[in-house]
Amino acid sequence: MNMHHFKLYDFDGGIHPEQNKSQSTQLPITAAKIPQKLILPIAQHIGAPGNPVVKPGDKVLKGQVIAKGEDFVSCNLHAPTSGIVGAIEDREVPHQSGMSATCIEIITDGKDTWIDHQGLDNYLESDAASLIDCIAQAGISGMGGAGFPTHVKASIPASKINTLIINAAECEPYITSDDLLMREYAMDIIKGIEILQRILLPEQCYIGIEDNKPQAIEALQIALKENLDDTHNIHVVVIPTKYPSGGEKQLIQILTGKEVPVAGIPADIGIVCQNVGTVHAIYQAVALGIPLISRITTITGDAVSSPQNYQVLLGTPVTDVLSQANAKPNKIKRLIMGGPMMGFTIASTDTPITKTSNCIIAASDQELPDPAMEQACIRCGMCTQACPAQLLPQQLYWFAKSSNLEQAQAHNISDCIECGACSYVCPSNIPLVQYYRFAKGEIKQAKSDKKSSEQAKLRFDIRNARLDRETAEKDAKRKARAEAAAKKQAAKKTAPPVTSVSGDATAEPSVDTEALKQKVLAAQTRVDKARERLAMAQEQNLETADALELGLNKQIDKLTAAQKSLEEAKS
């Protein structure tokens, strides 16, 4: 361990908010009680939601799969304890918008009966594919906040990776779940890192940890020393406490001096980043066969009498764990899931804990008072000093305020990580990040509007082309009929009626092709109409688009068949 000579880099900006971490580090991690019912959103990760594989009334065992992630970027979900499946319906889920989404309810039986489970034997000798499969089966997604499916990140070809970074910075105030996890499960974490090393084959591995967690640092160092598999190349790198050092991009910059290229991912510069909690979940899944069914969550805030970290079953309603921590409901003014810088408020205490819920802050009015009145921006530039992305927050504010989306984009608003450092320092109490979210939303809307107007134009053009063709065809038919009638007239005049027998004989096949031609035209019209409907459905992002596409293909088949028989009839 060459910890003493490790060269650290700094990132621009950053702030030093009051940490408020010591409140929740006084007591060890305690298991939260099994609540009467669990509410499990089928989407607790980024990507496609899992598909429920149980029905209301089914009996489930602890660790049993209840929703399967069928897409690659998706996650399995397991029953956190034994019980009976209640409703499968929309419930309020943890989300910035306070939206509802499909949840599986489990009425717990209190027996906590496990399904058969076991880890991989000799997992450090297993091949990468079976390790990744094991992680995927266990339904692990990033536990630091974003919730990206871990098996997807682990599937990046090892040849592209030279550095594995374990994010143990935990830079947001109040949150101590990773701190306590490292203090109590340091050895498991080291073993989890070894599993990732086995998969990704990095040349080096750094655990980036802020210097405000001395006990966790010591625990990790002891675990590294005690670990018998001495071939590891793992370094505990202590970094200065500064928010947001735990932002993935910032931590990479601190440890390597490199920047993740714009619109790129860390793998583009040979780096994979995993949260320390995720690493622990990997160890549990691979070594013990325990899927991701619980997590460590910090329960803190002034309205909580005994703040501490709990091991909480996923799906536990916030209210249950709050009451276990002796929260005073009347004192709660703001209930935050996550940290005070990037977390979001939840409107109801029935909201469940999910795979990404690292902290619940039950804040009192004194602790987080109502936002102060917004004053005029005096362009003091404190926001620019604080921005870790080297943006010009103040310029972005003016552009967002005047809906000047073009300039906002030119000033790289999309590179804003919404860390909130600018709002934190603003002496005029301007909610800057909210302005940026507004502008980002408007930009997204404008882009999708543009796309759908392009599609509408396409649809319009297709329709016009069809109408033109139909008119042309009608004209042609009318003309043909008129010509045929004229011919008949002429024939009647010039030829004696007896010769008409042979004339009829030659005319007969032409009637046959005429009918086929009609058929082809009708098929063509149907194809055109189907194409229009499909374009319309795609434009409105309707789910029926797939079915319509199928229908269109059938119509095209029919058209080809009709054309073929016409060709045959002609020849």
């Binding site: 408020t345 936002p371 005029a376 300039q407 590179d415």
Partner: protein, 352 residues
């Protein structure tokens, strides 16, 4: 339980714009005390006149604009403008000069442009420039001699009389400023001859730069250092301003027999006040790190040019105003490189 539902960040640093302005006012106190110690109570009286005028004008305009008066007065920006203006003006200028300057600063330069944060020009300097070009006699003959050179000093009663009613006794206490004196005499005299004037070395010929003024500048420098420490502004503007002014003074004005020497440029005029309190006004300055360096350096260069070849002995106001014009353009071409980008964006996005 009625839960507050708002988006992040939830934690913010306490304080508001008013705290920033008050901190700057606090940092001005050593300078104001030094000014009063060396030049009598003139500046204190001017501060009172300007402050009363500024607050009155601010309240009136806020009323006309149908804005909450108390809320906006509490940002103390009008008070700060008034104080900066008052200590820039000659201490014994007639009261109406100060009032006109303040009224113009608050009503025209600030509120007609949209109020705090919207004004492109430093209001105090706009007010100063207006009275400087409009009332040249009052503005050049109202500088007092350092009290040490006057037999009885300057009393409060005498100061009030000069400022408010009779200007008969003003000749007894006024004198040219050291920068003015040096500039006018350097064409006919050598440096050592000029330095014979007690305005530089005092009545007892102790070695110093400019009697009184040097300590005033030191006091403003200290106040500025305090604001740097409090992170009210960054080092970029004052450092680049002082650096460019110093470099020009050294390379062009190395011969003190022909040009005003660097010591006087830095410590005999309004340089430190300008560098730390005027040029750093965030509303009218450049906002990007590189932009601030360009902006500050530009002010330093203009100060030197106007002082050396222009007709005004001190030049902070015009230099700052000229660079105020350039600040928005500088900002557009000095954007920092955003994280993850190969290079910085220059200029605004092109219109389609």
């Amino acid at each position: 339980m009625n839960l507050l539902n708002i988006s992040s960040p939830h934690a913010t640093r306490s304080g508001n714009t008013g705290n920033v302005m008050l901190t700057v006012l606090l940092a001005l106190i050593p300078g104001i005390i030094t000014l009063s110690y060396f030049f009598g109570p003139g500046h204190l009286i001017q501060i009172c006149i300007a402050s009363a005028t500024a607050i009155g004008c601010e309240a009136l305009v806020l009323h006309l604009r149908k804005k909450p008066i108390g809320f906006y007065l509490k940002d103390y920006s009008a008070l700060l403008t008034a104080v900066l203006l008052a200590i820039s003006l000659p201490p014994y200028a007639p009261y109406w000069v100060t009032m006109v300057a303040t009224l113009f600063a608050i009503v025209i330069a600030k509120h007609l442009y949209g109020g705090l944060g919207q004004n492109p020009f430093n209001p105090a300097m706009v007010g100063f420039a207006l009275v400087l070009v409009s009332f040249p006699v009052e503005m050049t003959t109202s500088w007092s001699a350092p009290s040490a050179l006057l037999e009885n000093g300057i009393g409060v009663a005498q100061a009030l009389e000069i400022i408010f009613s009779s200007r008969e006794t003003i000749d007894a206490i006024t004198m040219a400023t050291p920068l003015d004196l040096y500039k006018n005499q350097v064409e006919i005299a050598t440096a050592s001859e000029i330095y014979q004037n007690p305005l530089f070395n005092g009545p007892n010929h102790e070695a110093s730069i400019a009697l009184g003024w040097q300590w005033v500048n030191v006091a403003f420098l200290l106040g500025g250092a305090f604001l740097l420490w409090k992170k009210i502004f960054t080092w970029h503007v004052p450092v680049s301003l002082l650096l460019s002014l110093s470099l020009l003074s050294i390379f062009i004005g190395w011969d003190s027999d022909s040009y005003v020497p660097i010591s006087l440029h830095l410590f005999a005029g309004a340089t430190m006040l300008g560098a730390f309190f005027i040029a750093t006004d965030p509303v009218t300055a450049s906002t990007t790190p590189l932009g601030k360096l360009i902006y500050g350096a530009g002010i330093g260069v203009l100060i030197y040019i106007i002082r050396t070849w222009g007709s005004y002995p001190d030049a902070v106001a015009f230099a700052v105003l000229l660079m105020n014009f350039a600040a928005p353009l500088i900002d557009q071409y000095s954007q920092p490189r955003t994280y993850g980008h190969k290079k910085a964006v220059r200029g605004l996005a092109k219109k389609d």
